[in-house]
Symmetry: C2
Subunit: 504 residues, 2 copies
């Protein structure tokens, strides 16, 4: 018997084990299955026509996320393309920059900043390529990069405030933690396992290319349905004890489960909720103390008109001026409904401040931002309120943690307790794809421990999804000299010009 | 009924409440009372004569720690002065600097470094003075200083590698966290509430002036003895629930305690071990995820000879060359025993590495460092192994935490749950003094909630201990221009000299 706990990852593990005939029970702390996915269904026919289902948690899938694409196929769920035909906006200090590609181009307002941003992105990708996907702590410069916050790196790398502020926004939106909170090594690793800066930060061809028709939580609901009574809700685990011949798990209502193996499919910090017997090794205990969950308030509003498209905009906005509350806006496009959705992400100090208000106060506060437009429906989710999740999207690593404590990330606790959760994935950690990868790998660890499969069948690569091909980058996206080199070339050309003038 | 949990702080709270006739129970997770104090008693007469009692946890007391000095007096415990008559050593990159005062003087090897270090210390103290003792998040520059690691500050402030490396050592020894792990704001606050850089880092007149005859744990043992059966061991709390008319507390063995109030006298991160009903407010949940315990291995060895004194040394060593394992050594002086003790603190990446070895491997590793001298007795304590403590000395704050989440540090959870633990103290947090201050304050919060005392009697200042007077600083310790200004003066003098030469 194996007992995985909460949701997307645990259900993936349970499904695989169940198919292999292993006797299992899934203990879910919450009163629903889905983990960090949650789809609000319309309660009336009118609502269905107006705005349909709403994803309040993980929502997007994209190319190279082969695990989740395969699961969609298996469970008969369709994906659809998000829209990406118009312009994006980057706000900063009261100014706005309108652009079409992934990166704002400040060419007309500040050509130095445009050059600076492009070369910083290329520099970041060069560093990203030096970080091993599965064990970032083994990067040649792991210790050096882990002693630095991403902010510190930006201060050294960027010449212009525009470039720096956009990359700050990228960090805060990507990691739901401020650039001064995360280590440079973690930032690079997160981008690395998200398949590079040009894929993790992109709609078409990137991490936000697609959504699942009907919402993402249905993947969990369908897996749970197949498992039937083997999934038990409202069973927070508070104790995991090793016995001579197995494992004992206790839930807060006093129920005791005895089994042979356990998969802990929860974020690292949620392991702190469990009293371990014997206590955890000190490296593992150090890790779970040091990897908090990111903080984001997700807020979705539906409007009668698609006013942004009327202005030729995608609805995608990044905002880093420290005045507006919203850090990131994206379009919540859904075919077949009469209203038009925008998703707002509120991050950083604004999220800390707003999380202390009541839901009504928060709503009033955010409504001010969109005063000009009538909202026909509204949903909000603050994952930081969830005791057994702690935040969203995923764990972040402050400086000095990943290089030192990283090796304890996936290391099993003895021979019977295996660690899963999207945070332990080798690819797309923090995403649904990582949750499935980690869950299935942990399930195969159990099968291996049971002697059912050899060790080389535990860590498997997922076959590529043929229908969603990966992105190809153009030459210009990967090549550009630094601003320093550009200036040197300009100075050289001017010198040559003057020299030529002297000659003739 | 009130139920405080683990040790020094909990016992202080319980003692005060018990004296006021409140019906209490103390639930201690471990099988001993003392929290982060632990005194090994000699098991034979021979051991008593040879090395006596050994403090493996908190040990030192000093002037301005008026709470613990008063408690010593109340419980009939004497303090004695640690020795501070000889020279200290600072090792760095294979070189050693011998010095007498609190700060290494590199005057002969590198006068610039000497000047640089002195002016950095004065600069730090100026900044420390701007941080409010009880609410560092209200400092005028709180947000700016919290976006920076202490390492980043040192890189900006210090001109010389010698000065920088010594201050790195100071940080790692003071906070049991690397200079790149802690925010500048936290570093400054910790020094502030430790009554300034010239007191927290000092033997005579400072935090390490005295020890308690017989060891520090006896304070807890004596308090527990007075409380008798009201202290229950091996009762880890895993659930705290609010009911209509009180509080329900459950321990891992299934026992249920019902009461009117609870004091949680545990480090912030240990709150993660508790399942709260209702769940914590998100600011509090964010805080306890983001404040890990420091990491240190404390290692005490006794030698036949006081070989360091023969060389005119105090036994106090700081080491920052990245090669030697030990970060800090101090003398474990005790009158009336025949052997001579040294306490070694192993911090940072060395501690991470060594914590993964077995006790024997670790011992062999450390023995190499002191190969020349015969060890007659040896004790070791790795607090990171303790599930309900998680590390030592205390919590640290990575960048971006104290300014944002700090306000949740001592804020009661509703009207019945009060927060204590040395981490919530206003003075000497992380020390025994802070534990007592916080415990007694939380007890008075309960008394106030019961209507027994008015609100202005909750937060009380402790009367000064007359027998242990505070330190007076000399003028030179607080005044010195920066290296930049020194250089400017030198350039000015040389210019004047040349000008005068031209004149005559």
């Amino acid at each position: 018997m194996s007992t995985p706990a909460p949701s997307f990852c645990g259900l993936s593990a349970a499904t695989l084990l169940n198919e292999r005939g292993v006797d299992i029970v899934v203990l879910e702390a919450n009163d629903y299955v889905g983990g960090r996915t949650l789809t609000v269904k319309p309660s009336t026919k009118e609502e269905e026509l107006q705005f349909g289902w709403v994803d309040l948690g993980a929502s997007y899938v994209g190319p190279t996320q082969d695990h989740v694409l395969r699961l969609c196929k298996t469970l008969g769920c369709e994906t659809y393309l998000c829209k990406d035909n118009h312009d994006n906006i980057h706000y900063s200090r009261g100014r706005r920059c309108r652009y079409t590609s992934s990166w704002p181009c400040f060419w007309w307002s500040n050509p130095f900043a445009a050059w600076d941003l492009r070369s910083a992105i290329i520099k970041i990708q060069e560093m990203v390529d030096q970080v091993p996907e599965d064990c970032p702590w083994k990067a040649a410069k792991a210790i050096e990069w882990d002693k630095m916050t991403f902010k510190e790196f930006l201060n050294k790398q960027c010449w212009t405030r525009d470039a720096k502020e956009f990359l700050e926004a990228l960090c805060i939106i990507n990691n739901t933690a401020d650039d001064h909170q995360v280590s440079l090594l973690f930032f690079l690793w997160y981008v690395r396992q998200g398949q590079g800066i040009n894929r993790i930060w992109r709609i078409k061809g990137g991490a936000e290319e697609r959504k699942i028709v009907g919402g993402s939580q249905q993947l969990c609901l369908k897996m749970a349905q197949k498992l039937g009574g083997k999934v038990v809700l409202k069973k927070p685990v508070f104790q995991v004890g090793h016995m001579d011949d197995g494992i004992m798990v206790k839930t807060t209502d006093g129920t005791v489960y005895n089994g042979s193996y356990v998969i802990l499919a929860i974020p690292p910090v949620t392991h702190m909720k469990i009293h371990f017997d014997p206590p955890l090794p000190s490296l593992r205990h150090g890790l779970i103390q040091r990897t908090p969950m990111g903080l984001v308030i997700k807020w979705i509003a539906f409007f009668r008109e698609e006013f942004w498209v009327e202005k030729g905009l995608n609805g995608f906005v990044t905002c880093m001026d420290g005045i507006e509350v919203v850090t990131n806006v994206g379009e919540d496009y859904k075919p077949g409904v009469s209203s038009y959705g925008l998703i707002c992400f509120i991050c950083g100090q604004h999220a800390v401040r707003l999380s202390q208000l009541t839901a009504t106060e928060r709503k009033n506060h955010i409504y001010k931002v969109i005063a000009d437009y009538e909202v026909v429906h509204f949903e909000e989710k603050m994952w930081a309120q969830e005791q057994y999740i702690g935040g969203c999207y995923t764990s972040y690593y402050p400086p000095g943690v990943l290089s030192q404590y990283g090796p304890a990330l996936r290391e099993p606790l003895g021979t019977r307790v295996f660690l899963a959760g999207t945070e332990t994935a080798r690819k797309w950690t923090g995403y649904m794809n990582g949750a499935i990868e980690a869950g299935e790998r942990a399930a195969r660890q159990v099968l291996h421990a049971q002697g059912k499969i050899p060790s080389d069948e535990v860590w498997l690569d997922e076959p590529k999804c043929e229908t969603v091909p990966p992105l190809k980058l153009c030459w210009l996206e990967t090549h550009q000299p630094s601003l320093g080199m550009l200036l040197a070339v300009i100075v050289l050309l001017i010198s040559l010009f003057i020299a030529l003038l002297q000659l003739y």
